[in-house]
């Protein structure tokens, strides 16, 4: 078991290293942030001063080595635009993203899982149709359309909810619906396929033959097993909701990580973009690592196979 965990951790480190190289090179491929910061009319001397100030005048390998060693020490660098440590900027935004993602995530589960179960076990029922329609609308309609429609109806026309901002429950309603709706559809489809597969299992047939009530067969025996892959996806979805809800956060002026990424990209704030992407990558890798380990604990075949 220890060897398995160590192997998985080593793979995670390699993944993060590859991610760090990729993001480091990608942000630099887009140009010189010193020029953007100094402005088009700034002299070469002014731009050079900015470049030196942020260490951008050093050779790329030196910059990368510094980036990696600082990151290992927990220092994600200093934001060019915010003039604060990236980690501080990130942590400043993180609570709001967590709040939004948690509510949106809950919504995606509440819609996606029942819809998936109903679609699998009662495909002809009207209720399954309604759930399916709601979930598929979320994935078919671009989220900016959903977001602006919600604003038009509930803020401008009905005046029930504020258009934007954060700090109150009312301000949370529309962005979490717009964000969670999309993910609900993905949850529904995975739950449906997973349930269909599980329902064909011998133990489900046996439970039915033994006369166990259908709702117990579905809810206790089938769903429990069907949810394993669903929860894996859910973990990754949650990380995505926290870190890259760019469009939703822009439209609702929600001061989260997605908004931060957008600012970092538009202002060409290398350290900020690197830091946020790395944090997101770290979360995804961590979630996958935890899931792998939990699987291995639950099912010995997994750790023996690898």
């Amino acid at each position: 078991m220890i060897a398995f965990v160590l192997r998985r951790m080593a793979a995670s480190v390699v993944t993060l290293l590859l991610l760090s190289v990729t993001i480091f090179l990608l942000v630099r491929a887009t140009g010189d942030p010193a020029r953007v910061y100094a402005g088009a009319e700034a002299s070469e001397e002014e731009v050079a001063a900015v470049r030196e100030d942020f260490g951008l005048d050093r050779p790329l390998p030196v910059q990368y080595a510094s980036f990696v060693t600082d990151t290992v020490k927990g220092d994600l660098g200093h934001s060019i635009q915010f003039r604060q440590p990236v980690f501080e900027v990130y942590m400043d935004r993180l609570p709001r993203s967590l709040i939004l993602a948690t509510v949106a995530f809950g919504l995606s589960l509440v819609i996606g899982i029942p819809a998936g179960v109903l679609s699998a076990v009662r495909p002809g029922r009207w209720s399954a149709g309604v759930f399916r329609a709601v979930a598929l609308t979320g994935v078919s309609v671009p989220n900016f359309v959903i977001a602006t429609t919600l604003i038009l109806v509930f803020a401008v026309k009905l005046r029930w909810l504020p258009t934007s901002g954060s700090g109150s429950i009312k301000q949370l309603v529309m962005p979490s619906i717009a964000l969670g709706w999309y993910f609900a559809a993905a949850m529904m489809r995975l739950t449906q396929s997973s349930m269909l597969e599980v329902m064909r299992g011998e133990y489900v047939k046996l439970a039915r033959l033994k006369g166990v009530p259908e709702w117990i067969v579905i809810g206790k025996h089938a769903l429990k097993n069907a949810l394993i892959p669903v929860l894996t996806l859910a973990g990754v979805n949650f990380v995505v909701m926290v870190n890259v809800a760019v469009v939703i956060e822009q439209i609702f002026a929600w001061p989260g990580i997605g908004d931060l990424v957008y600012q970092g990209i538009t202002l060409r704030d290398f350290p900020l973009v690197q830091g946020v992407v790395l944090m997101a990558g770290f979360m995804v890798v961590a979630v996958n690592l935890i899931v792998d380990v939990v699987y291995a604990v639950l099912d010995p075949r997994i750790r023996l196979e690898r």
Partner: protein, 556 residues
């Protein structure tokens, strides 16, 4: 002594004064009438030996209520520190509330003493003396002193910092309120660079506090001497400002100002409709129609700065743009009325004719603009193309606009096609565009659709875009460079004035930067604001946002 500087100032002053009454629609009509900017009265005002003083103190009042201002861009904390001003006018949208400068424009009163009670520029431009306003205080209660003014100058790291350091000989402080800068050589541009948003060096920061918290700490919790102090910054997405009742000019009427960052246009407009915000930056596109149909919303529209075209590499004989007839044909092919109608509903100006707008100090004034620089004549354009040897036109690799003016670029492309110039849109993001501008004529081949918000005066713009070594220049005309060097070396304001006019005229006669049209901006005011919107939007030259904040009032 008559100078272009003061003509521009006077022209804008008249415009601002003319906008002081009437409803918003009247304001729109005024801006759509070319004469409102064309009005020029020459003012006999000495620039050498300029001396101004103002000891007037405004009324004191108990501030009350809250105004929410919907801001349209992401906020960079660097904007809260004028010591690192990057000549970005957006930054001054915040500075004008939080900070104060020694000299600044006020509505109808340009280069007026602000934190300075008086100032004097020596006849030989070798020194500038200031007396700090008695009772001027920072938000922490500390008085503004000569030490702060000196520190601000010496510690300044923003745009043109090196120029100020190179020119400075010494600073003398007679006492806590009197300070004089002595220069190594005549510094004719000092007043413009120190007293306008061309640089941030005149925006005073408190020495002791700045040294205590450092530049990064200052950006998180800036302390200024402006009419409002920052009391809350929520993740750089919402700023809460509180009135300083003893601000020298007058006590603000509104107690709390919230700057709410809402970058999405539709959401920002929805927030205005629902009353969540009271003032809104930039209404554009289809939202304009909705805004016009909402009788609770008052719109203020102004033409601001000009778009122009550039032809990188036009100096090379094998370039199709080398022939002045081709460049003139392009100018003649631009149907500016059609562009203004499509882009701004017709209110933006199409006849300022120059790549520097007339309220830019030193720019050509309306009576100096030749109609042919903005003439639309397709037949004449086609004839010129034929005369130049291109009766069927030619292909250009691309036309690259500054983001986000892609729709405007498409219109220009369509109009150029009518004289046979075929090209396609090169859509790149703003940061990449800005960087490419600095890499010479080969970085963006074809045609460039450009615009600049560079503050200060026409000379600053010329220095950046039109000199052979200019940081954003893709053009080089040695004889005009020589003339500009003459301008830079001259200590005679009248001679400089003449040289600057000649430079622009010569440039425009050669259609080096054909004028496209003048950008129109629309700002919106909600029903709770008592002011006439024309008094608080676009109230000073080259600044489109709300100012002066201490004048803003709520309805009872």
């Amino acid at each position: 002594m008559r100078t272009r500087l003061w003509r521009a100032v006077a022209a804008f002053g008249l415009l601002a004064a003319g906008c002081g009454s009437g409803d918003s629609s009247a304001g729109q009509d005024e801006t759509s009438t070319p004469e409102s900017v064309a009005q020029v009265v020459e003012v006999t005002t000495p620039q050498a030996g300029a001396e101004r003083s103002s000891t007037t103190l405004g009324e004191r009042r108990e501030p009350a209520g809250k105004v929410v201002y919907g801001w349209h861009t992401a906020l960079s904390p660097a904007w809260l520190d004028p010591q690192e001003s990057g000549n970005v006018i957006t930054a001054y949208g915040f500075n004008m509330a939080i900070h104060d400068s020694m000299i600044k424009h006020f509505p109808g009163d340009q280069l007026a003493p602000s934190l300075a009670e008086s100032y004097e520029i020596a006849d030989d431009f070798m020194s500038a003396s200031f007396t700090i306003r008695e009772g001027a205080k920072f938000h922490n209660g500390e008085p503004v002193t000569a030490d702060d003014v000196e520190f601000t100058y010496l510690n300044y790291r923003g745009t043109q910092a090196q120029l100020f350091k190179d020119r400075l000989d010494r600073i003398e402080k007679a006492d806590a309120r009197n300070i004089t800068f002595y220069f190594k050589e005549p510094f004719l541009d000092f007043l413009i660079l120190y007293g306008t948003p061309a640089t941030g060096i005149g925006w005073i920061v408190p020495k002791a506090y700045y040294e205590q918290v450092g530049p990064d700490g200052f950006k998180q919790a800036p302390i200024g001497a402006g009419p409002y102090k920052l009391v809350r910054n929520t993740a750089n997405t919402e700023l809460e400002l509180e009135a300083m009742p003893d601000y020298w000019r007058k006590g603000p009427a509104v107690k709390t100002i919230i700057y709410k960052i809402i970058t999405d246009d539709a959401t920002r407009f929805a927030a205005l409709q629902t009353g969540e915000i009271d003032l809104m930056n930039v209404v554009q596109g289809q939202l304009l129609d909705a805004a016009k149909n909402d009788d609770r919303i008052r719109l203020t529209q102004r033409s601001t700065t000009a778009f122009w075209l550039e032809f990188p590499g036009w100096e090379k004989p094998d370039s199709p743009f080398h022939d002045v007839r081709v460049r003139q044909a392009i100018s003649l092919a631009l149907n500016r009325r059609e562009i203004s109608d499509a882009e701004t509903g017709g209110f933006a100006k199409i006849d300022t004719g120059n790549w520097g707008a007339p309220d830019l100090i030193g720019a050509l004034q309306p009576d100096e603009i030749k109609p042919e620089w903005y003439e639309y004549n397709l037949e004449k354009a086609k004839q010129l193309m034929a005369d130049a040897g291109y009766p069927d036109g030619f292909e250009v690799p691309q036309l690259t606009p500054l983001a986000p003016y892609y729709a405007l670029a498409e219109r220009v492309i369509t109009q150029l096609a009518q004289i046979g110039i075929k090209t396609s849109l090169n859509r790149i993001e703003r940061a990449a565009f800005v960087e490419a501008l600095t890499k010479g004529p080969d970085a963006l081949p074809g045609i460039i659709l450009n615009i600049s918000g560079l503050n200060g005066d026409m000379a600053a713009r010329w220095r950046a875009f039109a000199t052979c070594e200019g940081p954003s220049s893709r053009t080089c005309i040695p004889e005009l460079d020589a003339k500009f060097a003459q301008y830079e070396a001259s200590t005679d304001p009248e001679e400089r004035d003449t040289l600057m006019a000649e430079l622009q005229t010569s440039f425009n006669d050669q259609y080096v930067f054909p004028y496209v049209y003048t950008l129109g901006l629309t700002m919106a005011t909600g029903p709770r604001i008592a002011n006439n919107p024309d008094d608080i939007w676009f109230s000073i030259p080259q600044f489109p946002y709300v100012f002066p904040w201490e004048d803003v009032e709520l309805k009872p």
